[in-house]
Symmetry: C2
Subunit: 176 residues, 2 copies
């Protein structure tokens, strides 16, 4: 991970030409959901997210890891899942996500798979590093497997390769 | 990403002392679920995963991205969510995941948040790089924000910092 200052500077460099009043309204909603999830209803950590496309709010959710007993129920993943359900497709091309905090690697990767167009975030990891270890996971994922926190080993590779070969021959195989 | 050969060698170096017959049975089930998801039922890509703790299979699932219109519905995330639901907790400390393919960054990060103990995988990313871009996302996530595929920018940081300060004062705040 880059030093926080550098990250923010680079994020600003990559920003669209201007942050609009509409952007501020959507982020205000994301921060309200952050407070609702973490401080008021305590469904999980203080995180909120809003997904918008063509001016329409497709999803607006908070973190619900504790309520749902689901480690994947970060605000961003919840919002992506809800938005996809709403539009009836597994992708959100052209959409923007407003999230109260810098995406953890799980949330960023989910946004990538969802083909989100862009992300605005408010707090940096360094703003709550005493509470959640988002930067630790980012650092862990830069390590080779042998040094990862979750031990990883390969086995039975050839058996899985056979299924991939079978999958390749399907005329109507999954594409996304 | 490391070259495939190096990754596999390192994974082997990090492996437990021996792969047991029980491990092979669990991976065989994961590969059967892989085939079911990708080739037979076509709920999504050819991916399957099984989570086991203390000899008990907690979850056994395939990829359902297309069936569920959910980009997060990779076999591994589905398995983690199902296992957590079964045990009634947002973590799976001491559990092992058997997955038909090398985890994408979303799945690895979810495994990390779930506090999984270890992961066995069968196919490497290179075995199906013509079909899914798992290695592309890994490469993207190593880039600074300014060069990411999903454009990222920061805004309204101080508003979110205020909520974090409020969250910190809660005696019963979320911990996980």
């Amino acid at each position: 991970m880059l030093p926080a200052g550098a990250t923010v500077a680079e994020a600003k460099a990559a920003a669209p030409a201007a942050i609009t009043e509409q952007d501020r309204q959507h982020m205000t909603q994301a921060i309200a959901l952050m407070r609702k999830a973490g401080v008021v209803e305590k469904t999980g950590g203080a995180f909120g997210a809003v997904i918008v496309r063509d001016g329409e709010v497709l999803a607006a959710t908070g973190n619900s890891v504790l309520r749902d007993n689901d480690p994947s129920a970060h605000a961003e993943v919840n919002a992506i899942r809800a938005a996809c359900k709403k539009v009836g497709a597994p992708n959100l091309r052209g959409a923007t996500m407003y999230t109260s905090c810098e995406c953890c690697p799980m949330c960023y990767a989910t946004a990538y798979w969802a083909r989100l167009d862009r992300i605005f975030f408010a707090a940096s990891w360094t703003d709550y590093a005493d509470l959640f270890d988002d930067s630790n996971i980012g650092a862990d994922m830069k390590n080779p497997y042998a040094k990862r926190k979750v031990r990883i080993a390969q086995m039975m590779r050839s058996d899985a390769q056979k299924v991939w070969q079978e999958f390749r021959t399907l005329p109507d195989r999954a594409r996304y």
